[in-house]
């Protein structure tokens, strides 16, 4: 689904990502784990062409992101770490429709998709609400709904459970899992919580912009996590 080949990236003079070659398999549940500032978000932004590698390339469905941004953006949805900054319209249902409008669907179709998603996530009662008056957990759901509505093949979740209480954490993680299991969607979960690894079947461990592990979960050893400074 997604492949990076010898990817390098830098902001100004600081090299943030070094020689990253990983593959994210279609239909897999991949967790990218690493300490704060290890470059997880920066790496994930390459998957839907928000960032372009300084060296190397990223292939989404076999096409380089440099050649076709739109392809990458359509295939890979992104639920951001700061979901407050990703709601663009003031009214919930308008916001969910934003991506669909950009896909140039007809009004009827958009309305149908939005209603479907609202029902699926059990948030029909929020449809007319102003997004700014929602709680953190509700905003998170709207952000997810906006991405889901576009029916991408793959979704990146950037630390989706920070800011949420235990109940919402469980329900979001449950939802992510069912997207993977029921709808065969490729999931990329960015996290720094070891506990989240239990849902994943593939793990990528990042440390200071270098991949120190990338394989099936069964092969992961605790020494790797120690090296990534995820616990002491």
């Amino acid at each position: 689904m997604i492949k990076t080949k010898n990817l390098y990236f830098k902001y100004e003079e600081d090299i943030i990502l070094k020689n990253i070659s990983i593959e994210i398999k279609e239909g897999s549940f991949t967790a990218i784990i690493g300490a704060n500032g290890s470059g997880k978000t920066t790496l994930a932004k390459h998957f839907n062409a928000l960032l372009m590698p300084a060296k190397g390339e990223v292939l989404v469905g076999g096409t380089s992101t440099k050649k076709d941004e739109l392809n990458a953006r359509k295939k890979v949805g992104f639920v951001f770490q700061n979901f407050e900054d990703q709601l663009v319209y003031p009214v919930v249902e308008e916001d969910i429709a934003f991506g669909l409008e950009n896909m140039e669907l007809g009004n009827e179709e958009i309305k149908k998709s939005v209603d479907e998603i609202l029902k699926e996530l059990n948030i029909t009662h929020l449809a007319k609400r102003n997004v700014n008056t929602l709680s953190m957990g509700q905003k998170q759901l709207i952000a997810l709904a906006g991405v889901l509505a576009m029916k991408p093949k793959c979704i990146v979740f950037d630390e989706p459970t920070t800011n949420l209480d235990e109940k919402n954490k469980k329900s979001i993680m449950g939802m992510i899992r069912s997207l993977n299991k029921k709808y065969r969607m490729t999931i990329i979960l960015i996290t720094n919580v070891l506990n989240d690894l239990r849902y994943a079947d593939e793990i990528v461990v990042l440390k200071n912009g270098i991949v120190i592990f990338s394989d099936k979960k069964s092969k992961l050893e605790s020494s790797v996590l120690k090296e990534a400074r995820l616990y002491d």
Partner: protein, 238 residues
């Protein structure tokens, strides 16, 4: 888009200009600014330019840095020059003179931000604006307003960038006016919201506009020296 936003171009260096009192420097910017508009004859312009060259040397700003800091203004200079070339070619010498004076003015204010930290500037503005109390303008409000702006503007850019990215990943196209409008409105709304959050946070930490900062500022010998130098310059020109 905006990778790194630096406010002003402060560089920590050990120079005569860096050691001057920020209040004095602000006053000089005003005085020199007025002077730069007053100079007319060739003689005055040459003297003033030489003087500016000396100040630049005193600030230890390298030629490379000078050129780099002026980069945002190149467009304006070229535009002005073109205007003169197109509309009043006979006055081109006069035009060049205007542009040169404008350049000097920019360098004057640039030197202030180059040699003074934001904190020093804010404290100095607070002290200098004390006389404004007569007009019911509170110095503390001025100072806080500036420091809030200094902290906020880069933050606004970061949030702007985040929203832009989120919109792009839902296939927004920023060649469309509609999407640009949406992005800008969104930013405005966030700005107002953060401002109101900030005001709550400030009040809950007992913000009081009547208190004056207790920062103490005292003039040093180098400050008195600089006054003498400027006085001589004014005497030469007039």
């Amino acid at each position: 888009m905006i990778k790194r936003l630096t406010f002003g171009q402060y560089r920590c260096k050990d120079s005569f200009l860096h050691s001057l009192d920020a209040r004095i420097k602000i006053i000089y910017v005003v005085v020199l600014g007025i002077l730069s508009f007053g100079i007319k004859s060739k003689f005055e312009i040459v003297v003033f330019s030489l003087f500016m060259a000396c100040i630049v040397l005193l600030s230890k700003m390298s030629f490379k840095e000078l050129i780099k800091n002026l980069r945002p203004f190149y467009f304006v200079f070229i535009f002005l020059l073109l205007m003169y070339l197109i509309f009043s070619r006979d006055q081109i010498i006069l035009g060049l003179r205007y542009i040169w004076r404008f350049l000097l003015l920019i360098i004057i204010s640039m030197l202030l931000t180059y040699t003074t930290t934001i904190q020093e500037l804010i404290a100095a503005i607070e002290k200098l604006s004390k006389p404004l109390k007569v007009f019911k303008i509170k110095p503390r409000n001025m100072a806080v307003m500036i420091s809030v702006a200094v902290r906020f503007i880069p933050l606004m850019f970061i949030r702007f960038e985040r929203t832009r990215e989120a919109m792009a990943s839902r296939l927004a196209d920023f060649r469309k006016i509609r999407h640009i409008k949406l992005l800008v409105l969104n930013l405005l709304e966030k700005m107002l919201r953060s401002a109101s959050n900030l005001s709550d946070a400030m009040h809950s930490r007992l913000y009081n506009e009547d208190i004056e900062s207790r920062k103490f500022m005292k003039l040093k010998s180098c400050d008195y020296w600089s006054v003498a130098i400027i006085a001589i310059l004014i005497l030469i020109i007039y």
